[in-house]
């Protein structure tokens, strides 16, 4: 295993543990964002072809769209309560 | 190398000319520019044309007419971006 994949994988594992340990829902999103950066980089580094790059871009953009929707919902729920 | 730069230049100039014909503004009217959603000739048009040209060149090869098509599509996408993606 190359050193770059090692570092990225270690950071991804660390982020998974921090997502479990954080209690606040809004701050979980920040760790989740870092995790999707890591997954997107790992997809591109393991699938070494132009299609892998396109898959990494589509994955990253759709994950930010999802985070956008979740953060919006948290705000709305706060208003209702 | 020179050939590839020429293709990019052709798509860039085509996109700017077509955008001028479609009456896209040169700079967004609303200030400050960094929060404005309006598309203009300076900001998204050349980048869209170069990106489409790169995709077409990777898929089909180095042809001059593909560069013209890329410039045309870049300008059209920039002109109708608001209708495609919706406001805010």
């Amino acid at each position: 295993m190359d050193i770059i994949e090692g570092v990225i994988g270690f950071i991804a594992l660390l982020m998974v543990f921090r997502i479990f340990l954080t209690r606040s829902r809004a701050r979980k999103l920040l760790y989740l964002c870092c995790l999707s950066f890591c997954i997107s980089a790992l997809i591109a580094l393991y699938v070494k072809s132009p299609m892998g790059g396109i898959v990494a871009i589509i994955y990253f953009i759709s994950s930010t769209l999802t985070s956008n929707a979740i953060a919006y919902t948290i705000e709305q729920v706060k208003d209702i309560e | 190398m020179v050939n590839i730069i020429l293709l990019y230049l052709i798509s860039l100039i085509t996109s700017i000319v077509v955008a001028l014909l479609l009456k896209v503004p040169i700079l967004p009217k609303k200030k400050p520019i960094r929060f404005s959603f309006e598309t203009s000739i300076v900001f998204p048009t050349p980048i869209l044309a170069l990106g489409i040209e790169a995709i077409l060149r990777n898929l089909f090869g180095n042809y001059i007419y593909l560069a013209f098509i890329a410039g045309l599509f870049g300008a059209l996408l920039s002109k109708y971006a608001d209708k495609l993606f919706g406001e805010v």
Binding site: A41, G53, T64 | F35
Partner: protein
């Protein structure tokens, strides 16, 4: 050999950090929350003792692909396809920005500047190191310690006249 790799990785990380923080701050991420979700995250950061403008910055990164995403995706495509990959990444990041209701200045310009930097530096530091370096840079902001990261981002925003 291992030591040289680590030094290259850290230098690439510092270049990526400077690139995306300066571009994001210049295009006004700390000034106001672009979408409603970013406001929630900014207020939450302020609750734990951080800076509000730094919190808006971090919330905006979560809620739409900004210069941080542009830097990562452009270095991935540069690693896989060369310079034309960087141009494709800029196009796709612009489309993603528009889908997330963002004007898209920061993301595309970040992608283009990192393409230029990688093209200039590729005899010394390969594009692969920039992918790893960007992960280190985003880890230092989003994953390490939110309070101090937001205070640092708030200071940079104040120095560049973006935010109070």
């Amino acid at each position: 050999m291992e030591i040289l790799d680590i030094i290259k990785l850290i230098i690439a990380g510092i270049i990526c950090w400077i690139n995306f923080v300066l571009i994001d701050t210049y295009f006004g991420l700390p000034e106001k929350p672009g979408v409603l979700g970013a406001k929630t995250i900014g207020e939450k950061i302020k609750e734990i003792g951080g800076n509000l403008n730094g919190g808006y910055f971090m919330g905006n990164i979560v809620c739409s692909p900004d210069a941080s995403a542009g830097t990562l995706l452009a270095s991935i495509m540069n690693y896989l396809m060369g310079v034309k990959g960087g141009l494709i990444a800029a196009l796709l990041v612009w489309i993603g920005n528009r889908l997330c209701a963002d004007p898209g200045y920061a993301g595309t310009i970040g992608a283009l500047t990192i393409t230029l930097i990688i093209y200039l530096l590729h005899p010394i530091i390969g594009a692969k190191y920039f992918v790893g370096g960007m992960i280190l840079a985003i880890f230092s902001i989003q994953g390490f310690e939110h309070k101090y990261a937001s205070i640092l981002l708030g200071k940079i925003a104040k120095k560049m006249n973006r935010g109070e």
